[in-house]
Amino acid sequence: MPSWLGDWLQALGASPLAAFLRDSTVGYATLNGLHILAIGLVIGSIASLDLRVLGLFRSVPLAALAQPLSRVAGVGVLLAIATGFMLFSVRPLAYAGNPAFVTKISLVALGVVNALILRGNRQWRFALTGEPPHFSVRLAALLSLVIWTGAVLAGRWIGFLQ
């Protein structure tokens, strides 16, 4: 780890918010609960949208599902990152050295990139008009399912490697 990063993580761990969360049972448990809630929002909406792209629930037009589910997922990701950052600040150096944590963060980044690439893919816009989704769109949906599932499982492992 570069020394500037180590220094910054050290400073984060010494912040007043981090100190509060280290000591406050109610604060930490609430934040943890909100983090899990956010994850629930992401998984529920993303899985539903991905499964629709992959061919389930074909009686429902993709265009009807895409916006609400993407928005819920987006809010979930932002809330998860915000709450996750605060949880991370409680012991930054230890978490940064935890392979499960690093894996989870990498998978979250991959999931976001995958979603952004899909948004920019014009095959996605064709799919929204009711065309059968192009291979690249279905691939993105499959990757999305695998990546977000992996992120959740990696996240669960953090406590067992700590």
């Binding site: 930490y28 943890n32 700590q162």
Partner: protein, 129 residues
């Protein structure tokens, strides 16, 4: 085989309750440990008292151990706070080691450091303490 809708639902509900109860019972702080009491003595490398639970890093003969304590409120209630021990102090941790003996990790129910005994989990102390 004819099963009515009602009895199938009852069977499913019963199975779900049994599975859930089993999982819930397993999910407490010792499901990963040996049952016998284990004692570790070593030198403290790190003390962390904070959420989700306090933990010590202890250098013993066979390597660097992770000694898990309790959530911060309960850990402090035993008297073990930031002033109780420092890096370099010798500590004896009494508790239960990981059932995977390749893993240098244990859950402590009691700590002895600097001449003071801290009962982290008073209702889980070994019989002779």
């Amino acid at each position: 085989m004819v099963t009515s809708l009602v009895s199938r639902r009852v069977l499913f509900a019963a199975a779900a309750v049994i599975v859930f109860t089993g999982v819930a019972a397993a999910h407490h702080g010792w499901s990963w440990t040996d049952e016998e009491t284990f004692e570790l003595t070593g030198t403290i490398q790190e003390v962390f008292i904070g959420n989700p639970h306090a933990v010590l890093s202890v250098e013993a003969d066979d390597g660097l151990w992770t000694v898990e304590l309790a959530p911060p409120d309960r850990t402090r209630a035993s008297g073990f706070d930031e002033n109780a021990a420092a890096v370099g102090d010798e500590v004896t941790a009494i508790g239960n080691r990981s059932s995977d003996h390749n893993e240098l990790r244990m859950k402590a129910v009691q700590l002895v450091v600097n001449g003071t005994t801290y009962d982290i989990y008073p209702d889980r102390l070994p019989a002779d303490s």
